[in-house]
């Protein structure tokens, strides 16, 4: 009511339209698609200029009639109409938006249709219960019995939004229509219905969930096409959540068991992918009796896709097992499968496992971790596939909490070194990104002794992305270990590179200084770094010289005004009269940014 009032106010003086509708409609009809699209995107502006009355009587009929356009225009239109309630005069007139949206819900292009359905769902909430029955529900029925599959597909998404707010007679009709679509002739419609089954079940009364939904679920789960069957698995989660525990065994489990052993790997994959949700939905008893063996089978599936999906769920599944005999189930049923997966033939499977396996240590505790998991971690740290090793290394924190990292460090080091020298630069990049984390967990001594050399070696990598990441890594290390550590360990090495014969390495010195100066503080920057930068202003390579200018601009704010005036300024002035254009440019930029002019 409130918004209706507002829109009335909006309409009251909106009818003395400033623009003749023909001019505006011309904009929507422009020959150039791009211009038409721009106009449609500003449809609300046009509607506002027309006022609610003429929007209803002239603009909407025009839009309904000229629905044949480029899909991109239709998409924009479908989106706009979802926010048009105010512009047609508020909720009491919202049903005026249904005709154009109905046409849009029948077009071929999926994105347009989906957007039209989304808008219809949105405005359904703005319908009064009476309007819902008089205007909205008939639209759903028309779509549900449309000739072409597109309209029936769209109808599937609309049942659940009107069902809760209509009379019981209409409810019965809606259920009937949904039933019909679930056994539609075309697989596209059955897929749409199957994907909305869970959502529809949620708004149904429990008795109808048991009578209607279960039979539909069972039928869809044994459809001739696996693309339909796998969608029923998704619905299974919602349905199981709705039913009382005592009904699950008879109503849901036979179908779920069948899905877990489906002949199509896509269906089994879906079961594996939804395993945690399924586990929560069916509860601890069924989990123990049914899901544990099903999970074991999925972990041993003949298709790598399925094994990888299941391996991804190992930690979550174990975490959610009933606590009373969780350890026993893991040790006797899950761990043996996990052990096999460690030496799987497929690297995606191993890598999926490696991304979660460390999480088991918190669940199993110190002793089990040392005895049973540690050998697996160590094996994966030596895996031939770098991704597996990386996944182990990136999850070290879980193990660190339980058994401390020392247990691993002996094997860790060779693994890190090997990754650090991997031929693929993306692998090297990934390990660099874990360095700060590793440094924090392994401690400064271990780091200095074993890893420091690696970090410095990356600075002269032949791939720029690695040198850049290495620079950034140094900054993070300094933030972790402090300025004093920096001064003693890395700054001398970085500054030493300023004399390297390779200009790329000399530039790396500058990049490092850019990154480190802030973390190192004024003293180190002024006393150690600045002289090196200034000296490099005489470099014979122009790229180095203009990077000197850039560096000075960068570290300028850290220096005191004395250093700026007496040391930086003369050098920048000299560079500003360099023979090279770029050097001049960056020197001048630095002078103006540092206000040295």
């Amino acid at each position: 009511l409130r918004e209706g009032e507002v829109s009335k106010m909006a309409g009251a003086d909106g009818d003395d339209s400033l623009y003749p509708i023909a001019v505006l409609i011309d904009e929507l009809r422009n020959e150039d698609v791009q211009l038409r699209l721009n106009s449609i995107k500003k449809l609300s502006t046009i509607a506002l200029a027309l006022g609610v009355e003429r929007t209803r009587t002239e603009l909407l009929p025009f839009l309904t009639d000229t629905i044949y356009d480029e899909d991109e225009v239709l998409l924009a239109l479908a989106e706009q109409l979802g926010n048009f309630t105010m512009l047609v005069g508020g909720p009491e007139y919202v049903h005026c938006l249904l005709p154009p949206l109905e046409s849009l819900a029948t077009v071929e292009e999926t994105v347009v249709r989906d957007k039209a359905v989304e808008s219809l769902r949105k405005i359904s909430q703005e319908h009064s219960p009476v309007d819902l029955e008089v205007h909205f529900e008939p639209l759903v029925k028309r779509l549900a019995s449309g000739d072409w599959f597109t309209s029936r597909t769209s109808a599937c998404g609309l049942f659940s939004v009107c069902y809760p707010r209509v009379s019981s007679t209409v409810k019965a009709e809606i259920r009937q229509h949904f039933r019909t679509l679930c056994s539609d002739d075309t697989p596209m419609v059955r897929r749409a219905a199957a994907s909305k089954l869970g959502e529809f079940a949620k708004v149904l009364e429990l008795e109808y969930v048991k009578s209607d939904i279960i039979s539909l679920f069972t039928a869809l789960a044994s459809d001739e096409q696996d693309s339909v069957r796998l969608l029923a698995v998704e619905a299974c989660v919602s349905i199981a959540t709705l039913l009382p525990q005592e009904d699950l065994e008879t109503l849901v489990m036979p179908t779920l068991r069948q899905a877990a052993e489906d002949k199509s790997w896509r269906v089994r994959y879906m079961v594996a992918d939804k395993f945690s949700e399924l586990q929560k939905a069916v509860g601890p008893e069924i989990t123990k009796n049914d899901l544990v063996p099903a999970f074991q089978n999925l972990l041993k599936d003949c298709e790598a896709e399925v094994r990888a999906a299941a391996a991804n769920k190992v930690k979550e599944f174990c975490e959610n097992l009933p606590e009373d005999n969780r350890e026993q189930i893991i040790m006797t049923h899950i761990l043996p499968c996990v052990k096999e997966l460690v030496s799987d033939t497929n690297q995606h499977v191993k890598s999926a496992l490696a991304s979660v396996i460390m999480g088991l240590s918190t669940i199993l505790g110190k002793d089990n971790t040392i005895e049973h998991l540690l050998p697996l971690f160590l094996a994966q740290l030596k895996d031939e596939c770098p991704e597996v090793r990386l996944n182990i290394i990136s999850n070290l924190d879980c193990v660190n909490e339980v058994i401390g990292i020392r247990q691993l460090s002996q094997s860790l080091l060779p693994a890190i070194v090997e990754l650090a020298e991997d031929a693929k630069w993306r692998v090297r990049l990934a390990i660099i990104e874990y360095m700060p984390l590793l440094a924090g967990q392994l401690g400064v001594e271990f780091f200095d002794e074993k890893l420091n050399t690696l970090c410095m070696a990356w600075l002269i990598d032949h791939v720029y992305a690695i040198r850049e990441a290495a620079t950034c890594n140094l900054m993070k290390l300094v933030e972790k270990f402090g300025a004093e550590w920096a001064q003693n360990t890395i700054v001398p090495k970085v500054l030493g590179m300023a004399n390297d014969p390779n200009y790329l390495h000399r530039m790396t010195t500058l990049f490092c200084i850019n990154a480190l100066s802030k973390a190192c503080g004024q003293e180190i920057t002024t006393k150690q770094m600045l002289p090196v930068v200034l000296k490099m202003s005489n470099d014979q390579v122009a790229n180095v010289r203009f990077n000197v200018a850039k560096s000075l601009q960068k570290i300028g704010p850290i220096l005191d005004s004395n250093a700026l005036q007496t040391e930086v300024k003369p050098v920048l002035e000299k560079l500003a009269s360099d023979t090279d254009m770029d050097v001049k440019y960056f020197a001048q930029e630095a002078i103006s940014v540092l206000a040295l002019a």
Partner: protein, 513 residues
Amino acid sequence: LSSSSLLLHHHHHPWSPIMETTKSMRRARQRRSHSSSQFRYQSSQVELTPLPLLKDAPVAELHDLFCKKLQQCCVLFDFLDCVADLKGKEIKRAALNELVESVATSRGVLIEPLYPEAIKMISVNIFRTLPPSENPEFDPEEDEPTLEASWPHLQLVYEFFLRFLESPDFQPSMAKRYVDQKFVLQLLELFDSEDPREREYLKTILHRVYGKLLGLRAYIRKQINNIFLRFIYETEHFNGVAELLEILGSIINGFALPLKSEHKQFLVRVLIPLHTAKSLSIFHAQLAYCVVQFMEKDATVTEYIIRGLLKYWPKTCTQKEVMFLGEIEEILDVIEPSQFMRIQEPLFKQIAACISSPHFQVAERALYFWNNEYILSLIEENCQVILPLVFATLYRVSKEHWNQTIVSLIYNVLKTFMEMNSKLFDDLTASYKVEKQKELKRERERAELWRGLEEYQERRMQMLTEAARNQRNLQERGERGDTLNPSSPQTAHSDQPEPKPSGASSGAGESAT
């Protein structure tokens, strides 16, 4: 059996791009091959023992032995493990070879009781869930396909099926009880196989099934529709589109006139939207062939086709744009002049847009239309309509295009037009500048209109927000059951400063009463 004997109606098929990749695919690394998940479901491995040869069997026992061999061939083997059960594999291979040989050469073998056994053997072997692609971003143009590991047996099973269908003894009335809708649906799903050898067999087999089992025709067409629609609107992935289109090419050929509305719907709602696929280049030749077939059957579909292509004209992919232009030329080659006149206007607007493409291959492809004598004659007949549509573009692009070849092609086109109708050409040249000015003026007016509209919107939005705020305040007070002061509701507005030293600011209005 050579691969060429498998090709259907090669006399009219633009094979080249497909055959080339197929050849290189044949050399693909075997070690990457992959079997399906079927093997898991065989309960226990049976040990095969060799049976007597068919050719040695007495006539009375021939059918019985044939049947036993069919049953023997229902045993499946693990081909991922290439050394497993070599003896069994060899026995099955030999048996399959014999079955193929026997069906192909001897008459009177195919008697009714063998049909269910033969179809069962075929089903058990070929129907399986295809394995996941080893390369999820498999690009049929770039990557080598994963080959079916069990091909040594599978090929012979397909060969047997083909010989079975082609046998002079084959009785459709008997076969239709076993080769039913469910069977055909599974057969169609196999077209998604990544292995081109398998798709090649499937293509020939489906063509024979369509030809011989008339009762399945409508069903096959419907299921192909579903596969295409899923490919277009849901997955964008299906390996066998080109093969299915090739079969359809010959099906369309056989359509009776006047075209049924089902067939027109297939053209408009399936074939035309297929042009939107990302992987169009893989099956464009077959698709364009189908489209032109439709036109040659019934010229009245021309307008649907061209308007459809214009609707789906590629916006950013120049490679596809060149393919579209190629297809348009194929269409124009056979278009009826009366149909041409119906679509010339939107079509030449698009052609003009292509000519002004900064990508020289697109512009070049469009300009080549003027080298086509039939198209040129159509243009000449309709010069009064077409020249004004393209003139401004030609004039502008001739001065602006970066590529010299394009510039000289445009000069030729302009020269052709000048010769066709020098009066019109001179008029257009004279009015070019004026038209340009008019266009600029229209643009300014548009900008002006939108500026006005947007200013208006801003004012309205301000008013609306204010109105909504007042309304809400009134309402809130009403809900709280406060007595309103109708003369000055504004005093109750929360934005109004209240002379209260403390207390809730939002509830200020309330405390004022």
